[in-house]
Amino acid sequence: MNDNLVISSSPHIRTFQTVRGVMVDVLIALGPVVAVSILLFGYRALLTMTVAMLAAMLAEALWLHQWNIFGDGSAAVTGLLLAMTLPPDVAWWIPAIGSVTAIIIGKQVYGGIGNNIFNPALVGRAVLVVSWGTHLVGPIWPVPKPFHFFADISAVTTATPLAGEAEALGTTLSQLFIGNTGGCLGETSAMALLLGGLWLLYKGHIDWRIPGAFIGTVWLMGTLFGGAFYNNSVTTGLFHLLAGGVLLGAIFMATDMVTSPVTPWGKLIFGVGCGLITMLIRLFGSYPEGVTFAILTMNALTPLLDKFTIPRKFGEVKQVA
């Protein structure tokens, strides 16, 4: 009678959530960070972000032979996240190369979205750091020029707060919180990052465990082993948390769904591992910052973490004798 009836397995209703929707929400979450970075660093910030996003989207569209360059939105997210890890006055071709590397080497060679092992944006950044390090991690950084869109930010430079004790002491915690300090596009303003994080938590796209454990571990390590150079040990812990890429990494990078564990305990251990390695690099390594390599290392351990943290099923403990 009714030939239109569709037969499929239950459930017959679904959430309206889609992969594209998740990606769009991540872009929205990055909104405050984008806004602050443009406020602080002007058109150079906008240029870097635009180039990074466009390069990522184009690379993905070409690889997948699709006309719609936005696609599922994941390439735009990757590009923007990569831009967030770059200095504001970086040469324009750096984000372009980084984005293409991120999409092709970081993601598509594994089979595309869902199959990559490492966070694509961080793969892009890692390749840039190793290949053109002087453009990225030099001792000299532009000083922010709030509200001057066309400012030549390279004119006056400073060192990032993480460069050394003297530089750190030259920066107040509230400066770090607002973001009015030298650093990469996306890492200067803790406030904007936290805002984005709250949005992602509210939408249920991230779980508190990874950022919570990551941030908690960094603070604890900073407090215990940071040497209390920043007034006292607790504020030293806070300094480590607010300076550099910890918040960006904890909220936006480590929480990348594809490359982090799916189990609750896996997420917790993953977060602790990220914090631990970040601080080991910062305190004892040769780089001032360790977030990138910390997350990439934990990415590699993700399958293992999942394997050993399969949750205890309902009714497993209370066996009736």
Binding site: N2, L5, S8, S9, P11, T15, G114, K313, F314, K318
Partner: protein, 439 residues
């Protein structure tokens, strides 16, 4: 008092407003009924009648020797016109007895109430329940008397009536609790008596405050009984979730509620038990919610078992042209049907017609490991891993990931942003794992 909750679950759109305020109306006597000889889990019945026989309402027409089984009865009086395979909501054809009505609805004269049921022994009551052909009416259709025959040494202290009705759209149990609360309570008391249980609890989701109030008033002076309001969250009515929330006991993996001293029955089942002891009438009718955007005039109908679904949809104004899915049961666990030419059976709680908008046929994307399915699974499984294992035929791995524990509630597929049919894969994995354990 803060309500206890279970881990996981989802909050779908409930859409109960379509029928929640509509009183149960009695559907007109059907001209024809088709009574499948298997409407329960367990051994199918053998027909007790032949083509051409005259039958009366309530007459037993199918019976099985098996313990895990339940007899079936004529739901109208008339003549048997066919015995043979007929469409069944489970998706295959099942032997069924077709009866054409004589329009009299003449009841079998031997049917009468249990004399003074309060004095009856548990065995007598249990036999009456079996004879009445009562099965789990929430949809699982497990024979009721089997649940009321706990093995030696398993003491049952609590009987729970499941009035959660957590499936979206459905309001049959809700209306039953409002309109015939005495039956639900009497059914509960009978079950407690059969099982020797000291406590009877009716669990109702807090989106049905009127039902909580009505039942609450009715049991005010019965200290052994209580109503527990439940947080509205799907699958609150799943046996294991319900028992955990109400009694704080976890049914062990692979075990049964009776392992934790609990027996759990659906609201409709309790009302059927009350009917069986008060009037002696077997289970020949039930409340069905006919609803969904594809139904012109949604309704809660009391219908004779064996009434064809096509007749009910006609009664409710017909299916709209844009109906794309016809479901027996609720949208989360119900079964999609290719036709309306199939009978209402004991477990049919709803007939749901969904239109094009709701029934998206979207190709699934790759898993992005967002772990929403992990968070939603009330049994604490990792659905995406089990689905992957099933897809690759790695059933040993699926078993290690506890695929056999899946309750098929549908939460994982419901939340998946990549639209992967996770629940379907879970079923594949579960069926294969269970088959391998047996073989």
């Amino acid at each position: 008092m803060a309500m206890a909750i279970f881990k996981g679950g989802v909050h779908p759109e409930y859409r109960k407003e379509l029928t929640a305020s509509l009183a149960i109306s009695v559907a007109p006597l059907p001209e024809k009924v088709v009574i499948p000889l298997q409407q329960h889990i367990g051994a199918p019945c053998e027909p007790l009648v032949e083509v051409g026989d005259a039958v009366k309402t309530g007459q037993k027409i199918g019976e099985s020797e098996g313990f895990v089984s339940a007899p079936v009865h004529a739901s109208i009086s008339g003549r048997v016109t066919a015995i043979g395979p007929y469409n069944h909501p489970l998706g295959r054809k099942v032997a069924a007895v077709t009866i054409e009505s004589d329009g009299q609805d003449e009841w079998d004269g031997q049917i009468g109430p249990l004399e003074n049921y309060v004095e009856c022994s548990p065995e007598e009551l249990r036999d009456a329940i079996r004879e009445a052909g009562i099965v789990g009416m929430g949809g699982a259709t497990f024979p009721a008397h089997v649940k009321m025959s706990p093995p030696e040494g398993k003491a049952i202290d609590t009987v729970i009536i499941n009035g959660a009705e957590c499936e979206p759209y459905l309001t049959a149990d809700h209306r039953l609790m409002l309109e015939e609360p005495e039956k639900v309570v009497i059914g509960l008391e009978v079950m407690m008596r059969v099982l020797g249980a000291g406590k009877g609890i009716i669990g109702i989701e807090d989106n049905k405050p009127d039902a909580i109030r009505v039942i609450g008033q009715l049991i005010e002076d019965k200290p052994a009984l209580s109503v527990v309001p439940l947080k509205t969250k799907y699958p609150q009515g799943a046996e294991k979730m319900l028992i955990q929330v109400i009694t704080k006991r976890q049914v062990p993996s692979g075990g049964l509620p009776l392992d934790v001293g609990v027996v759990n029955h659906n609201t409709g089942t309790a009302a059927a038990v009350a009917d069986a002891v008060l009037t002696g009438r077997p289970l020949i009718e039930r409340v069905v919610t006919v609803t969904g955007e594809g139904i012109r005039r949604p309704a809660n109908l009391k219908v004779r078992l064996g009434t064809l679904v096509s007749e009910l949809t006609e009664l409710c104004g017909g299916l709209s042209d844009d109906t794309r899915k016809l479901i027996v049961g609720g949208p989360m666990m119900g079964l999609a049907q290719p036709t309306t030419d199939l009978p209402v059976i004991k477990g049919t709680s709803g007939i749901l017609a969904l239109t094009g908008e709701e029934v998206e046929l979207i190709e699934s994307d790759t898993c992005i490991r967002c772990a929403r399915c992990v968070a939603a699974c009330p049994i604490n499984l990792v659905p995406t891993f089990i689905a992957q294992a099933a897809e690759h035929g790695r059933f040993a791995r699926a078993e290690k990931l506890h695929a056999a524990d899946c309750i098929e509630c549908g939460c994982c597929a419901y939340v998946c942003p990549a639209r992967i049919p996770l629940t379907q894969w879970m079923r594949v994995a579960k069926a294969e794992v269970l088959a391998r354990r047996k073989g």
